[in-house]
Symmetry: C2
């Protein structure tokens, strides 16, 4: 199709929107390794998982076989409020870079939570409601997941209890107030509400909290209350399944105009966005129907794929969750203060870890200051103010487009723009003032952290 | 068309987007009163205005006759980046209210500046660039206009100098950093950069600044620099003209589905959003082709239409700008601290003032706490976190829908949702904590302020 015919933004009609999530595990020859019970070292059973997670979500977590999972009508109805998200042709960025590459981005920030997290939040809230639960508990760091879950719970009239890392609770009062606007209760973690919180406060009075601690509190709050379950916004297979709506829409929009991407790029923390974006394309590659380059972009400060090890590890620093086989830096790895809060996770989705290990996907890491330079360049020509997390993908998309400029290749590049940066302006301020620093862990630091991964018999 | 066929969000195809701005003055029998030179009391000439404003914008300001003004291609191209904005059917709100009314809102917050202000900012920046200027100056209070102008100037590579009221500069560092991300220079006002700023600082050391002072600084900075002009985000006829794109799109989208609104509602500060939204509908009413109810909603703390006087007054507290005939509370009126910063203006667009005076439009005022209650109710069911300004329209739309519930009437209500509230979370926090107060000026306060309007011979 000629250049002129492709609109700036490709929207799908309601009738063209995906009715199914795509489960990439169905097409994987080697399935992702199962979650293990840390006590027994045996695969977690559905019964064991059901104490923590909703029944239907447990079933999705363990489903390695069904390729297409119908999206329930109630979730489709909610999706209609903010989906389809636009697939944007970055004409202005292309012009600025003077590249022959064609750049597209799938923008997931056009909803109040400001990110793609809402796609899974609404699904998890729906299944909790359907099971007749009173509410759900979760933790949040940067706050995107907590915001998304608050919106979803408000929609289904579910109680939502968020443990927010104390330092974020204090430094990000706006995020906290958005959650309260949607009716969530937000508790700074560690708190005196839980046994694990009280223990930590006794041991480390005045601590600022950590994501690991907040997870432990949220899990305790779920399992000790009647009618509550714990929910998580990334890493899990169920989350990648829900996020496949991003990839399904992207593929439908590209197919509508006969566009075939060469490279698909996404930022990767726990893997929910990248996994969702690439899923249906990876399916084609796994089935031998098409070939694509996939690039996972992680921060140089927390490089689990590029510098971690593919082993079983704890999903949380508190070591209360099951073991997952994944690329990890060790559950005790403490990433340097990096403003891309959503990418500060020591591990990576088991699905993406397996695909990467098999060489089906590439990975690269980028430095924070380079990421913000790309973010600002993008904002000035494309208008959207990107989240730091999303800007990792922008950085690599620009780099690939500049390579095309050198070689003259007209490659088609698609990247995931996961969200907006309205609540990250402190980081932008540091960048403007020249006080932003880069941090790259030493080999010794990573080795020391990895030495503590569990030994399985 | 049956209920089921109308999508949640009505988007226009690129080919259906308006190519013209609609100039409502062309259809007004009594034209809005001209701007007057405060020295001579005579109508401002194009030559006089051209020292402050770009030539093409002066022509638009004085154009009372051309009904349709073609939108230049460069501006259409920019509009494509974030327009058409969605016209959303508020199915979830209707269900929550159990009203037979059909509610639609035109959502202008889907761009990084977070509001409709970008529609005029890009036009003003374009004409400045076309005239070969180096840059533009402006003031900003709440920051939405400054953000929009920064984005527009970045796109056309124009220098952008923003005088930001000092108290906002300090209390809204995020807004400031968004502007800096787009390359604008942001100066807290009053500053030592201008003669008027130095004078004010000498007289009132430690002052927090005011919009009036910031306007004076911005105007001085424009007229004393080679290649600069001053730009303004509301009140002026040229701004309403650019904002008519909102109404043109709304009308095209409604016409596409054969929907005829009964009531059209918008918040009103200087009038840019309301004027833009209603323009083409008002045109039909003026030409006798259709009838609609139009409702302007203003804050009870700054009620220019509902409690002001229709007289000539200064547009700024510094009294450096021309006189405009408008509904005003007096240029010295100091609105109580009200979080809807964009509605804290003492006057109202001359166009809307004239239409209101002729009884073609209604006006009402609402209290801040009632506005935030509506904002929260809306956010919880419709997802979008509304700006305080926009929430004034939500309040009245809900009230009108509830009246329909009582009478059983199936009225169609359209309101303008001008922007998002991401940078207004302090106000939401006050609302959640129960520390938000309402303020309504006394008759004596308003009379005292109005007594100081200029006496024209």
């Amino acid at each position: 199709m000629p250049y002129e015919k492709i609109p700036y933004k490709i929207y799908l009609e309601e009738s063209e929107m995906p009715k199914y999530w795509y489960n990439v595990r169905a097409d994987m020859k080697t399935k992702p390794a199962p979650l293990l019970n840390p006590g027994t070292g045996k695969p977690m059973t559905a019964e064991e998982l059901s104490h923590v997670f909703c029944d239907e979500l447990v079933a999705q977590e363990l489903n390695n076989t069904d390729r297409l999972i119908p999206i329930p009508q109630e979730i489709l109805d909610f999706y209609k409020m903010y989906r389809p998200s636009p697939l944007v042709r970055a004409y202005c960025l292309e012009k600025k870079l003077q590249t022959p590459a064609k750049i597209y981005y799938k923008f997931e920030g056009n909803n109040t939570s400001g990110s793609h997290k809402l796609n899974s939040a609404i699904a998890q809230a729906y299944y909790a409601k359907k099971q007749g639960l009173k509410g759900v508990t979760t933790e949040t760091g940067a706050g995107q997941w907590g915001t998304a879950l608050s919106m979803a719970c408000s929609y289904f009239d579910l109680d939502c209890k968020v443990y927010m890392v104390k330092v974020s609770y204090e430094q990000k009062p706006f995020r906290r107030e958005v959650m309260r606007t949607y009716g969530a209760s937000v508790t700074p973690s560690p708190s005196t509400e839980t046994a694990v919180g009280r223990k930590i406060l006794e041991e480390f009075p005045g601590t600022n909290g950590s994501l690991g601690c907040a997870i432990s509190e949220a899990v305790e709050a779920a399992v000790t209350r009647e009618g509550y379950r714990y929910v998580l916004g990334s890493v899990l297979a169920q989350v990648l399944l829900h996020q496949s709506v991003i990839g399904m829409e992207t593929k439908a929009a590209l197919d509508k105009y006969g566009i075939k991407p060469d490279i698909i790029i996404g930022c990767a923390g726990g893997g929910s966005n990248l996994g969702g974006l690439i899923s249906p394309f990876m399916g084609e590659k796994l089935r031998g129907e098409a070939d694509y380059r996939f690039i996972a972009v992680e921060p140089a400060s927390c490089p689990s794929l590029t510098r971690g090890k593919y082993v079983y590890d704890f999903c949380d620093t508190g070591k209360v969750c099951p073991l997952a086989k994944m690329y990890t830096l060790g559950s005790g790895f403490m990433p340097a203060p990096n403003h891309a809060g959503g990418l500060r996770y020591h591990g990576m989705s088991s699905i993406l870890s397996e695909l990467y290990d098999e060489g089906l996907m590439e990975a690269t890491s980028v430095k924070q200051t380079d990421v913000f330079a790309a973010a600002e360049e993008f904002a000035r020509v494309e208008g959207i103010l990107p989240a730091p997390e999303s800007s990792h993908a922008i950085r690599v998309a620009i780099d690939e487009a500049l390579k095309c400029k050198e070689t003259g290749e007209e490659k088609t590049i698609v990247f995931g723009l996961t969200g907006t940066g309205y609540f990250d302006m402190y980081a932008y301020e540091q960048f403007h003032n020249g006080t932003m620093t880069d941090y790259i862990p030493t080999d010794e630091e990573i080795a020391a952290s990895l030495a503590k991964t569990p030994k399985l018999s």
